[in-house]
């Protein structure tokens, strides 16, 4: 369990990125932080592995204040996946995946054997192990990034807009892959995105943030749609328009669901 208690982050230039945030991130579930840019969602994420230290307040992992833990040790125990994969360009795929286990002092042989298994886990062919990141497609690189994040079998996996830079088809593929992985592995995933659809698809809990690092609402996607906390949330999730404002019409005795523009979205199962 990850817990934020009264966390504020003010950068030296005076910008308040996160303002007095209290939130509990439940274990073995996916929590998605969603908001437009400048809402402090990435800052919030990076406080968990101490890439950013809060100005005030505490971040606790299983009851331990992360401020009391050596940042390097902390980071080696937490998986981190970032946009553009963040792979080391001068190292082969297999060495990239094995980076953290090697840093932790595992033998090269064991780390490499495990890295090959991880390639299987994320759905990559083992023949890619000896390629360099630049020789892979964007989607493949992102999968390697996920494999690297899982390499030390961490309880917590932080994902900072991991699918932001790939094309929509690959993104949908990776999203499904993440859902499958999460079902298999049951990690505590904290995921940052600015895409509300992605948030609703992946999140067990969705945290909606607004400018100035304020949390507007933290709840399951269904609850948010049913009871948006305020006008900002309602507008952000688009509950009253487009493909979320569905209603039922009857066509030849069957009940068809249509969206706000009258386009057919599906059939109501009886």
């Amino acid at each position: 369990m990850i817990e934020f208690r009264g966390v504020t982050k003010q950068f030296p230039d005076g910008t308040v990125a996160v303002h007095d945030v209290d939130i509990v991130i439940p274990p073995r579930k996916t929590t998605v932080l969603v908001g437009s840019s400048g809402s402090g969602k990435t800052t919030l994420l990076r406080m968990i592995n101490r890439m950013v230290d809060p100005t005030s307040g505490q971040v606790l992992i299983d009851g331990t204040d992360v401020a009391t833990v050596d940042p390097v040790k902390l980071r080696r125990g937490i998986g981190y996946v970032m946009q553009n994969s963040g792979l080391l360009p001068h190292r082969k795929v297999i060495d990239n995946v094995a980076t953290v286990p090697l840093l932790r002092g595992e033998s090269r042989r064991a780390a490499h054997a495990h890295a090959l298994e991880l390639l299987d886990t994320v759905g990559l062919d083992r023949s890619l192990a000896d390629k360099y990141p630049a020789q892979l497609s964007g989607g493949q690189q992102q999968r390697v990034g996920v494999a690297r994040g899982l390499a030390v079998d961490p309880n917590i996996l932080l994902m900072d807009e991991p699918f932001g830079a790939v094309d929509p088809i690959v993104r949908a593929e990776l999203q499904q892959e993440l859902l499958r992985l999460q079902e298999e592995l049951g990690k505590t995933v904290v995921f940052v995105t600015h895409d509300i659809d992605e948030a609703f698809l992946l999140g067990d809990q969705v945290v909606i943030m607004q400018q100035g690092g304020l949390i507007s609402q933290a709840a399951s996607p269904a609850e948010i749609l049913a009871h948006p906390a305020d006008a900002f949330v309602a507008d952000f999730v688009g509950a009253d328009r487009g493909k979320r404002a569905l209603h039922v019409t009857e066509v030849d005795g069957r009940r068809v669901v249509v969206d706000a523009d009258g386009r057919a979205a599906g059939v109501l199962a009886s």
Partner: protein, 247 residues
């Protein structure tokens, strides 16, 4: 043309190739002085440059100091130190170190700066210590540019090390100064040709090294880019990540 013939005659004279003060001995001295200077200057400039490039701090003073040092005329500096310290190798070594520091410093900080900030951020987020970030990420990726700095410094040292002979009995400059004094322009030009050849050979070695130190994965990128892009690829320098602890 006569002068060139004299120079080649001097170079071809077997008497100049043996004994004390012979060409091989002078070449060895020249390389020795250049090597000592390179080691001292590198020991000073490379760590500072690496620190500046790694931390992103102190860039302004580094640029100013290296620019200022570049403006110093080496002959003047040499004369000054010569008067101060006296005859011997100390004065030319110091002057040459001052000459070599700017390109080394510039190469080191440019090399470290050129590494994509996002790659460094990822390395840190994975749990690399600062020294590991330097040694495992910044150094290998910035190496080609760092070596470029060493290459240009070496070229300047070898060319300018002729001045060591101005106040010490060392190096290929001896032939130039002796030739000048005795009006033996064949010897003078012959000595110059030797310096030029030496500089070219060493520079060639560095050109090869510079190619070798480009990490394989980065080379792979370049070929891929060359294939897909009509224009010459430029170094991509990521913007510094502002959302992090200042480490």
């Amino acid at each position: 043309m006569n002068l060139f013939l004299d120079a080649f005659a001097w170079l071809a004279d077997p008497a100049n190739w043996t004994g004390p003060g012979s060409i091989p001995q002078r070449i060895a001295e020249h390389l020795w002085v250049s090597g000592v200077v390179l080691v001292i200057a590198s020991a000073i400039a490379l760590p500072i440059g690496a620190l500046v490039g790694h931390s992103g701090r102190g860039r302004e003073p580094a640029v100013m100091i290296s620019g200022g040092l570049r403006a110093l005329p080496t002959l003047g500096v040499l004369t000054l130190f010569g008067i101060w310290i006296g005859i011997g190798l100390a004065a030319p070594v110091i002057s040459l170190v001052i000459l070599a520091i700017p390109p080394l410093l510039a190469g080191a900080y440019a090399g470290f700066e050129s590494v994509d900030r996002r790659t460094i951020d990822a390395a840190r987020a994975m749990g690399m210590r600062e020294l590991q970030v330097v040694g495992k990420v910044e150094l290998p990726l910035g190496m080609p540019i760092v070596v470029g700095g060493i290459r240009s410094a070496t070229l300047q040292i070898i060319a300018t090390a002729t001045l060591a002979a101005y106040i010490a009995d060392e190096g290929l400059g001896r032939f130039i100064f002796t030739g000048l004094k005795t009006r033996d322009y064949g010897e003078m030009l012959g000595g110059s040709i030797l310096v030029i050849l030496l500089a070219l050979v060493i520079d060639g070695c560095f050109a090869l090294t510079q190619r070798v130190v480009v990490p394989a994965g980065v080379r792979a990128t370049r070929t891929a880019e060359l294939r897909s892009r009509p224009t010459r690829p430029r170094t991509v320098v990521g913007r510094p990540n502002t959302e992090g602890n200042q480490e």
